[in-house]
Symmetry: D3
């Protein structure tokens, strides 16, 4: 089975990190094919960047020539899943939604811990549109941007752990989903200190993609995700 894993930003380093996370959980026989967009921001934090990124993902899949069985959209809560579903019959799994699906299978409620407060809106919107918001106890932000995380990873890990603690102890979350790039040791710390399962979105999406493909299912082409009608474009696809 071949799974395209789409990084949403143009950082090759992040693509590599994502590929590693995907391969760590992939079943034997699953090939992970990581892809980096040809244009767009090196990190995606808000709606403007997410829309540019979404177009870059359409471009990426339209230009991809190899075969594949499923697509993982590796941007937590980012735009584009439904657009890709129109372009392919393969299942398309977005990692925020994947996290929520998996979390609901092992706990009654879950919380998401992400980076900045401005990302909370996009994650909430994504969960709501996916019909997965009902068992979400909270979406919480650590308050540290990607740059700050890079500059001080230990402080970042503590900030994430602190929000996870509030999620579990005040919001009564039973599972924590990490809505931000993995920080060394954070998962272990949350599990150890708070006693709850921790879900990584990339891993969850890879395993769900395997499950859906294994069931012989593909994206429904009835109604919403039917292929686009042929149509005149200007300046698209990009050369």
């Amino acid at each position: 089975m071949k799974i395209l894993v789409l990084n949403v930003n143009t950082s090759e380093r992040m693509t590599s990190t994502i590929a590693t996370a995907a391969r760590r959980v992939a079943s034997p026989g699953t090939e992970i094919i990581p892809l980096t967009p040809r244009f767009g921001p090196e990190a995606v934090d808000g709606a403007f960047e997410s829309y540019v990124s979404a177009a870059a993902l359409m471009d990426l899949v339209q230009h991809h020539e190899g075969e594949y069985d499923a697509i993982v959209l590796a941007g937590f809560g980012e735009h584009g899943r439904d657009g890709l579903q129109e372009l392919t019959v393969a299942p398309v799994i977005e990692i925020c939604e994947a996290s929520a699906h998996v979390a609901q299978l092992v706990g009654r409620t879950y919380s998401v811990v992400t980076t900045l407060q401005r990302s909370v809106a996009m994650i909430e919107d994504r969960l709501r549109l996916a019909g997965l918001a009902d068992r979400c106890a909270s979406v919480r932000a650590s308050g540290m941007s990607t740059a700050e995380v890079d500059a001080d990873p230990d402080a970042a890990a503590l900030a994430v752990l602190a929000q996870a603690r509030v999620a579990v102890e005040s919001d009564f979350a039973e599972v924590v989903c990490l809505g931000c790039a993995g920080l060394a040791g954070v998962e272990d710390a949350i599990r150890a200190e708070l006693g709850v399962p921790v879900v990584d979105g990339v891993g969850a999406a890879v395993r769900l993609a395997e499950a859906v493909v294994g069931l012989g299912l593909s994206t429904s082409k009835r109604w919403t995700y039917a292929p686009p009608d042929p149509k005149r474009f200007i300046g698209w696809p990009l050369p």
Copy 2:
């Protein structure tokens, strides 16, 4: 990986049917262990029967001595999942919820087609409590009981197909979940005539169980699904 697949009723024939469905989709290396309750109805259609069945499932798991990695509760919309989650750290996947999870991964909305109108209530309740009702376009009943299905399977298949058609063409469902025992040819007929993916609950649950176990996750013991406190019982566990 070992998966206990719990039939909710005392029909050995149904246990066998379920086991076959589970093994058909299980990955290599997954062992399906079908179990039949020691007491209860031979078919479960309503709340009274479902509560008796739920107690029988508790009994079944409390008496089970072998090891296992996950439990599939093979009763569409039946009671008991949360009770079992207290008794084990293994993930417990109920097939109605599993169907909904998988359906949402391949379509924007889904409908369930079940047998009798009286079962609609339990399925709706299950989906609502699981936080999976939002993308449910409808739960529809074919109107034929299990006995009637046995007596005239061709008529039953047509009745299910007819409701699936209404679900797709009037409720705009993009995926159909079968909330009733598989009828020969119904899945193919729905796919062929309506052009939508069809989800079988047992298969969906087995693959999701594999996914969750593959991710190294187990049932959260924080808050709701903590093990029961030691406590005096009368007449329980049953001998």
Copy 3:
């Protein structure tokens, strides 16, 4: 009028306490018939215990030979109400739902104060399925188990009062429902210190049962609560 009052656990002492509470509010001419299950836990705190208890309630009603006009299910938020409704035409009133109905008649919002956090889930689920969650300001746990309450009732009363205070002053609840066994003086303390009505579930259920029976109404047998179809059981009813 005869009202069966079903204790959900096998503690005769609790059955006696419940009977006293029921008789205190019953109208002249109402006969309270308390019943204790033949098997199950001596206290019900979680889903596992609640499912065993639900089956024991089915057993209890199936074996009950006397006449009755209504059933009160005296387990706050416990399973079984809908199953019993299939077995009888008499109205079946669960005490958590009864509390919410009555609370909504005397205030715009209400809160429930229960024992342990693990019970919050079941109460929330019950209210949601009953369509009574909308005006629920919060379900709060005192954090003390039944055993701890027995060991130190004064501390327990203070813990309940403390949560009631948060419910009224932070969640803006206008009525408090006690979702736990009555502690001497707690009701008076909440009323006196917080100035809100306090609803006891057993009392509420008895009075609602009288009201419904007085109106000449019985459980609807159309759709969900129709009698179970005749069906082969193994090992049930219990001897």
Copy 4:
């Protein structure tokens, strides 16, 4: 126990009809005190009339000198309940809400059948604000105005029965609440032909009032229904 039963309109004939309905279900010892507003429309169908009526109800209660234990607001879905709750500590029960409470106690879902489509909005609003809309399968209008009902009661009864049939058979309502003045024989016809309980709002409200008073409860004065602060009025209370 004394219950004020407030007609919302100025038709003495309707007051008399309501009083009869109330007395038919009242327990021995309950005194029904029917009151007619001093001003306003002879029938209330829309929001304009309902606001005039609400003010007339405030006037009525402010001028009432006798004692009472509860108030029944006998206008199906009409305005004023919360205003009256500020003026008294006695419980105030509106008949549309009362119908929904009682209906939920004897069935999983209920429908309301009222007169004109324009009244549907007010009833839906009332149920929503009361937190009782969740189990409402539908609010349906017979399409016949009060005048038309008077002119041809047989046709009106058939129109109500027809909508009740759609409610039960298409909306899967398990209980029918009559949101319009009782027509001779309609209740019996619905019960006989559709096999569902029928709830009359005035009766439901009287019995719920008895239940709440019997429990020793009164309207919460914390937050929303606190007494109005003393304040200067112009032209009010009316002489």
Copy 5:
């Protein structure tokens, strides 16, 4: 364009304040016609007063003889809008709803800051019925009554600012709507200290009225807001 601006209370001073606020934002060519009810409270804080006020608004519009293009109901969250919509084809804009509409156009979420906790219920109800509650982060009360505001406006301004701060920093509101009479300097302080837009209800309503009239739209007379049928009244209209 002529806009009737209806004060909900009988304080001429308040009518004057409202008129000033309306004229400050009105476009050239818009004539503001302020009206004061002929009876009712000098301030409206709860449901009782609001119903009396609503009837007074009906009276006011029924007796108004001049022409007008729109009505602004200048009582934050007060009753009456739907009743007025039956009496006229002109658009009727209530200021709480207007605030929410405008707030949603410039931010993802908004909070309302009002005076007393008892007013929170009415505002929440109004937003819910208007279908505008979904993006409401919170409705918060400063805790100071109108009288207290008059006695110590500086303290009142600080109390409002404090609640606005909680709304923005804890509830993550992106816009603040003032649900209370304007206090000198509060708008500027909120904008300056919290960095969010502040919406004044009267201004919002006037501009929305201009927009709707400018589009050539009037109140729909189909279904809910159809004119009242001719009907016999007692004591109404008031002389």
Copy 6:
């Protein structure tokens, strides 16, 4: 006041149509500045096209050098509004949301009539995320694509009118919003035959933009719509 009106597709003919619609309702002194994206589809029907279009809108606004006071996003239910809100302090009004705001001001409920069933999903999502879905009675599709509309405008007009009729008479919509390019005579036909107000999205958005700007309000920069952080892009902005 200068309003940028952004066509979402690359059809200059459509830009011209939109500009005409905008100018028809704009107040004196409002300058309409129509813009066409530099790349993308000539018509936008689904999510893939909508994401490409959204990126083209970001490009358009980033390259626009003139001043402006507000932006109208003239694509019914299309992506991009929140991204543009990050790029500017000017209010950004999307025409589907604008239609819903205005419709709610003149009726209790509204329906949208659009072209193809596949567009229904995007419109429903947009309304839901905007917090405007609650009063939406239905989103209905005429079933005719843009190409078919061009080929047979008379048939298209009849198809739209037919769906509007179902919306009003079966879904009880009180206002109709046109979610598709205006067809000559359709608005008049709906108003004349169905007696409901008809809302055109471009007009609604222009008038709401004027209202918001007239109130001195701009997009909140607190939380969600804060300006993007400076960040390295590859291949963006496009040359």
